[in-house]
């Protein structure tokens, strides 16, 4: 049947007109629908056209190539990464600070037992009591006391040298819930020898029973090297 044209029914003379207007209205609806659909596709197109830039940077010191990207699910910062970062930050500050007040220095460098370290103050960045001992593995703290501390004490007693950490810069590699490898570059200002740069590596491990004040995280290994001024 030829629908809108051949729709003459004797009993209903307006049939053709009605059929025609119905067809037109259906076509209008279809066109309207297509317009809406097109709008939707345009917006979808915009959605897929979002461009996120990737930034590849080359470290002048270590020749490492790193990528900075937008925050996605894989790159989200986890709690343990933040806690480790905080530990690294505090640890570097405590390792490289030599105060003008020797009592503070000795307090920072003293060794504390596990019981003494069970103190929530250990997570306070301004706390310096046992700041190194409570966050280091026992081997690392022994190495510090044996190799580094005499040098620090000599600096204090011979020339009243003071060290302040001016700027810190660290990158993280291989972070898991139980460990982390960090690399840092810090600039230290000495009141006698001027500023100098230090590049170093930190390895973090986790043992909840021994280091409860820092959520179990402690510094397993710390290696730093002074970069000669060019």
């Amino acid at each position: 049947m030829d629908y809108p044209n051949n729709f003459d029914i004797p009993s209903f003379s307006a049939g053709r007109t009605v059929a025609f207007s119905r067809s037109v209205s259906i076509w209008i609806s279809i066109v309207f629908f297509l317009i809406i659909a097109a709008c939707g596709f345009v917006l979808l197109g915009i959605h897929f056209k979002q461009n996120y830039p990737f930034l590849i940077s080359i470290d002048p010191f270590t020749d490492d190539w790193s990528v900075v990207t937008y925050p996605n699910e894989k790159k989200a910062v986890s709690q343990y990464q933040l806690i480790q970062e905080k530990l690294v930050n505090d640890y570097i500050k405590n390792w490289f600070t030599i105060s003008g007040n020797n009592e503070i220095n000795e307090s920072r460098w003293q060794e504390c037992s596990v019981d003494e370290c069970q103190n929530p103050e250990q997570f306070n960045p301004y706390n310096f009591e046992c700041a190194l001992s409570c966050k280091s593995s026992s081997k690392l703290f022994d190495d510090f006391s044996r190799d580094v501390l005499p040098e620090y004490r000599a600096r204090v007693s011979q020339g009243n040298e003071k060290w302040t950490v001016v700027s810190k810069l660290f990158t993280n590699e291989k972070i898991t819930i139980n460990s982390g490898h960090w690399q840092f570059v810090v600039e230290i200002a000495s009141n006698i020898n001027g500023p100098f740069k230090v590049l170093g590596f930190i390895q973090i491990e986790r043992d909840i029973s021994m280091y409860p004040a820092t959520f179990g995280y402690y510094v397993q290994d710390f290696n730093a090297y002074r970069i000669p001024n060019e």
């Binding site: 917006l43 660290f170 590596f201």
Partner: protein, 220 residues
């Protein structure tokens, strides 16, 4: 008959409505997702390491990119990081030269492992002047599939710190020459989605068509 017709018309209307609702939902989603991310938080402040302007890959000259890859290779070849668990796991070195990796394991890896265990640290520097072409005056980068092998003479400088955590320790400087046979073609490896590759945390070095195929004798 009329009832069947109106049933089908009703059905078509229902389907149409459903499609419109679906489209509206997609439009809503697109609207929500299209946003400019004006603030990006970063873990550390790397800004002072990133001096200079940002450059698009097409703005970097071919030779510059090639030199950067050579520097990266030489740096990976000799660098020593203290307390490295397994020095033979150097995915970047492997991806830049599969053929030479075994040779590296036999020659350099043992020394590096010893130094790493002793908490020594070694940094390698190659300056742009230190990379020289051998035998060829001018490279023409072909657009063919297979890139041509070119020989390079690379002069490097190494700084080695013999012990860690001693701030009075000065590094020992050393220099040497290494001969590389390498294939390089400008551009990014075909059939690789840069976005996916980088999102998966792979090293960006692997994106480029650079491969060291042979290592010559080196003199110190």
């Amino acid at each position: 008959m009329n009832k069947i017709k109106s049933f089908f018309i009703g059905l078509i209307l229902l389907i149409t409505t459903f499609i419109v609702v679906l489209l509206a939902a997609l439009v809503y989603r697109a609207n929500e997702r299209t946003s400019v991310k004006s603030y990006i938080f970063q873990m550390g402040n790397f800004a002072n390491q990133r001096v200079g302007t940002l450059q698009d890959i097409n703005e970097i000259s071919t030779n510059d990119l090639r030199n950067k890859l050579i520097k990266k290779y030489v740096s990976e070849y000799f660098k020593v990081i203290p307390g490295e668990a397994d020095v033979t796991k150097r995915p970047v070195l492997y991806s830049l030269g599969e053929n030479t990796f075994e040779q590296w394991k036999k020659t350099e890896a043992k020394t590096i492992a010893d130094m790493s265990a002793k908490k020594m640290f070694r940094m390698v520097r190659v300056s742009d002047d230190g990379i020289m072409l051998l035998n060829k005056q001018d490279i023409k980068y072909s657009t063919k599939d297979e890139a041509e092998s070119v020989y390079y003479e690379v002069r490097y400088r190494m700084a080695t710190w013999m012990e860690s955590n001693r701030m009075e320790t000065e590094p020992i400087y050393d220099q040497g020459t290494i001969y590389l046979e390498a294939r390089f073609k400008p551009g990014i490896k075909p059939g690789i989605s840069v976005r996916k590759y980088l999102e998966e945390g792979e090293d960006p070095v692997g994106l480029f068509m650079f491969e060291v195929t042979n290592i010559g004798n080196k003199e110190r």
